[in-house]
Symmetry: C2
Subunit: 598 residues, 2 copies
């Protein structure tokens, strides 16, 4: 039985950085080759990063992607890596004449190429295009209709057949998975750019198991790592046997080379190179395009592989925290910032946000501003100072009373208008310091606030990135406790003051104010928000599910009328099945009211 050493390179590509991403392919292929890999699989759209959005429609960008792929193939050959087969995602275009009605020549493709022998051996494109949730791929791409199968030599010189599918091709029925079985390939490799959300790792593993069985092949799933605006790609690359047994698995939220020695059946010598068209079992036909890679010597390498990588799973909270941390780190670094600044109120939201930022960037890159008002409690400053001391972030105090007085002399504001003013003064101070000193402003609002509109536009919502915007308030507390426990277990000082976790939440914009004056208890609110926002249940369904009708009506009203605020909120890492952003697109102008149910 031929043995093939494979490496899944789950690396962190940057959108638009074609040269940097190509260098990464070169560097990681070299590392994989040193460890004896004959086949290295990189993520979907590796050369361009993912998602590139409307850049896919720009001719110069597609040209650059194609040119970069060609140069990369040459460079791999020149570096003595021609004997390694490298599968890499990139942006291509449909060549030649208009191939069929509705598909213009020149339309972009979400493509993958096999590089070998210093050449582009074969290319293909994603067959199933996702167009739901955060995905808009019908806007950009035309579907691929070819399954590439390349024959390569395993360790002992025996041939094996490898096919390539891309990301969504695994999530839909029929298409490349089915055709891989028809083609009789022994191994199906799948470049992916699959964003993180809670519990998705379990879903992914089950999916891989099922599709490996359907394909009758070993399935090797290589996923992207890194933050890109609202999305965090978590890696979690997977290899499963044709029986669905897990053979190897990568870590989440970090780059890694997931290596394994695969025992494969030898390729059927009776299948000649060439093309044939078959039923894809999804209402379309696909062409199997079969090639044979030339026999080339593999680079020298260590011959032993201790064991396939099998990274342990993270707990639910560790996973969320990992996503937030990577999301912040990549947004800051990839956008060229050296530091962040945020308001520290003594409350739990800003305490958790500061802690994530410190874990992502280091304490010396995190600047905090304490901005007490006459309505701030004593503990608001002392709890904030406690955190500053625990974590060593760079702190300053700017009391806002003089500014409040100054505004009061200019315009006469009352009630909510006066409360909002305080939040906006704080936002202005942060933005001023950001402009002056170059920090990125982090907003500290959580998902429960964002959902209900419990925030001030251009006030606490001002900033460039919102690390916890997709985290419900109750999960904010859970994460804070989890992070403190982690520290305690490692014998470190828990970073978050206990009082910030345990005290009742308050915006402190008027004397003695508590969140519970305006909002239901968060432990009641959060499950209802989840059902309304993420599950898209209507009022009748919510009441049928046992929620109080009056509460349902009140919360729906709060959520619906806050759409305009969310539209102007900065991006932040998605961790849920439906975040506020590209995942949930509702009109601002809408007279729709869920029918009353009482």
């Amino acid at each position: 039985m031929p043995t093939l050493r494979i490496a899944l390179a789950q690396v962190n590509a940057t959108v638009g950085d074609l040269a940097g991403n190509a260098d990464k392919v070169l560097e990681w292929t070299m590392r994989a080759a040193e460890q004896g890999a004959r086949l290295v699989v990189f993520p979907e759209m590796m050369l361009t990063g993912y998602p590139v959005e409307d850049l896919a429609l720009r001719r110069s960008f597609v040209d650059a992607s194609i040119a970069t792929l060609q140069a990369l193939a040459t460079d791999l050959g020149a570096e003595g890596l021609g004997g390694v087969a490298v599968v890499v995602g990139y942006l291509d275009r449909r060549a030649g004449q208009q191939p069929r009605v509705g598909v213009p020549a020149g339309s972009p493709l979400d493509a993958a190429a096999v590089l070998h022998g210093g050449r582009i051996a074969i290319t293909s494109a994603k067959h199933h295009l996702p167009n739901y949730g955060v995905f808009d791929e019908f806007r950009y791409f035309v579907p691929g209709d070819t399954l590439p199968v390349f024959r390569m030599l395993a360790e002992d010189g025996e041939p094996v057949d490898v096919s390539v599918a891309i990301c969504e091709d695994l999530w839909q029925e029929g298409g490349p998975v089915t055709v891989t079985r028809t083609a009789g390939a022994e191994l199906l490799v799948v470049p992916n750019a699959s964003p993180y959300e809670r519990d998705k790792d379990d879903v992914r593993l089950e999916l891989c198991r099922r599709r490996a069985r359907e394909a009758g092949a070993v399935l090797a799933y290589a996923n992207l790592v890194g933050g890109q605006d609202e999305l965090v790609f978590d890696g979690d690359s997977i290899i499963v046997s044709p029986d669905g047994d897990l053979l190897a698995r990568g870590p989440q939220f970090e780059e890694a080379l997931v290596m394994a020695d695969l025992d494969l059946s030898a390729a059927d010598p009776g299948r000649p190179a060439g093309r044939r068209t078959v039923d894809a079992a999804d209402g379309t036909a696909m062409t199997i395009e079969r090639i044979e890679l030339p026999a080339l010597p593999a680079p020298e390498s260590e011959s032993a592989l201790a064991a396939p990588m099998l990274s342990p799973r993270l707990s639910d909270l560790a996973e969320i925290y990992g996503a937030l941390q990577l999301g912040v780190r990549d947004y800051v670094h990839k956008n060229g910032f050296g530091s962040v600044i945020l308001a520290l109120s003594g409350g739990i939201d800003s305490a958790l946000t500061a802690t994530i930022a410190v874990d992502a960037l280091g304490a010396d890159r995190v600047h905090v501003v304490l901005m007490p008002s006459p309505y701030s409690s004593d503990h608001s400053v002392s709890d904030a100072e406690d955190l500053v001391e625990r974590q060593g972030v760079r702190a300053r105090i700017v009391p806002i009373k003089p500014l409040m007085d100054s505004f009061a002399a200019s315009i006469d504001l009352h009630g909510l208008a006066a409360e909002n003013l305080q939040a906006r003064i704080r936002g202005m101070i942060l933005m001023g310091l950001s402009n002056e000193e170059g920090h990125l402003v982090l907003t500290t609002g959580n998902k429960s606030e964002l959902a209900t509109g419990y925030s001030t536009l251009y006030g606490d919502s001002a900033g460039g990135f919102g690390p916890i915007k997709d985290v419900p308030k109750t999960t904010v507390w859970d994460l804070a406790r989890w992070r403190n426990r982690q520290a305690a277990e490692r014998g470190e000082t828990p970073p978050i003051p206990e009082n910030s976790i345990s005290k009742p939440p308050s915006a402190e914009l008027s004397p003695g104010q508590l969140d519970s004056d305006s909002l239901p208890d968060y432990f009641v609110l959060d499950p209802l928000l989840d059902d309304y926002v993420e599950q898209d249940k209507g009022a009748a369904e919510l009441v049928a599910a046992g929620y109080d009708p009056e509460l349902v009506e009140r919360v729906i009203r709060l959520v619906d009328r806050s759409e305009y605020k969310r539209r102007q909120y900065p991006p932040g890492p998605k961790i849920s099945a439906k975040n506020f952003g590209r995942d949930r697109r509702l009109p601002i102008t809408s007279r729709w009211r869920e029918p009353r149910c009482d």
Copy 2:
């Protein structure tokens, strides 16, 4: 030759207001019937408004649309309007078992129904789904595959066959237009929700002419009117003969009943009711579903129709101004605001914005705030006061020097940070007055500023709606001059002070500052922005088109690095082929730099 009196009801539906929209159908059908119409055509998605975005995915909303349609059919019958055939757009779902692979039962449909005799006579759904520009219809809808053909009686009791297509069905090759010819229908009616953009009326007319010829039928195109977030629907309903001759045309930006007496051939009596499947010439098959409406007496009416409506065309500038005015009016009214507030600087952007607001809402609903700083020129206040006097808007002055001093005492800001601070103080004052008094804040930035990032986040960009955000600076001047000329021609006081139009533009955030210190001349900048932003040309193409390479590089850099600001900008009416919003979706995090061309 049978004569059929048709009415296209180009009315202003509101998203989510199912009851209000149904009332509108009843009311306008009654008016059409009084004038003798036998057939009334309403726009696409009339009952729900358009676009409903993710509301299409909510079960309760689809249920409500279907129930509203049923109630409307009954109400039309009860009001004695059963003898009129009413074509109305609504949101439906695919019934029954999963109809084919990839189309779940229960998937939403962009549907149209023919109501007659107090019943829903027949329904169908849009066949071609747009998924480009501002449209995301593959996200929401499954395509229709049926062409409904209903036989109804014309004036003299002779039968005519009428088919129904929906909006995009006209813009793509094949499908309902082709099948209308196959079916031999005499009249093709098309409900639309086609948003305004510059010069689109010419394109639409040519399209209607071409499709009428292809269908071999009279083509009656009924379009929505009204503003919905960033979109403005302009009406411009059209009827053309099978030879492509224009028979009737509605006005733009106002509700109207576009009536005409159509001379049609009599229906072929040899075509029986029933279903048959035919080639749609677009790679799919469609089913012709043919029914016969029962012969019912038409309501009593005036019998004479003077002449078909043939509204005169607007000039380019009148058209743009009409779109902006309607966009502002509907955003304000449909979101429940009674008034607006904006900063009046004496410059042209705020002067034009105020004028549009006055034209849209009336002077007593427009509040302006003059907020001079030590860097404001003398003319900034005097020009603003001049406008206040000309238009009678409600004005107040809030000098910002005390607030600048107060901030200076709290934090030490220089250069750009200090300039931004002034803009943010003004933004805060507007937001404070908005919160206190309930006005919607209008932002006054133009497209050239938005493109180059020449604005302050949470400063001059603060607000709920940006009336001129899609208007390039040079067009701002053109519109101001046009509006003044209009006034002069009507013997009214020109609303905009001449000095606001003629003086060199300045943000006045530092002594003697001019826009030209930071930006190229707007007459050079605007065409380049159009080519880069709207035409999506790369650097090499721009240089090849004759732009200075250094200018190209500088402007591209400005546009690319301002994406984060645009993401937090409020909505505003789209008037161009590509606005900043859903039309142009680019990542914030991107290292892509157009290749240098020098």
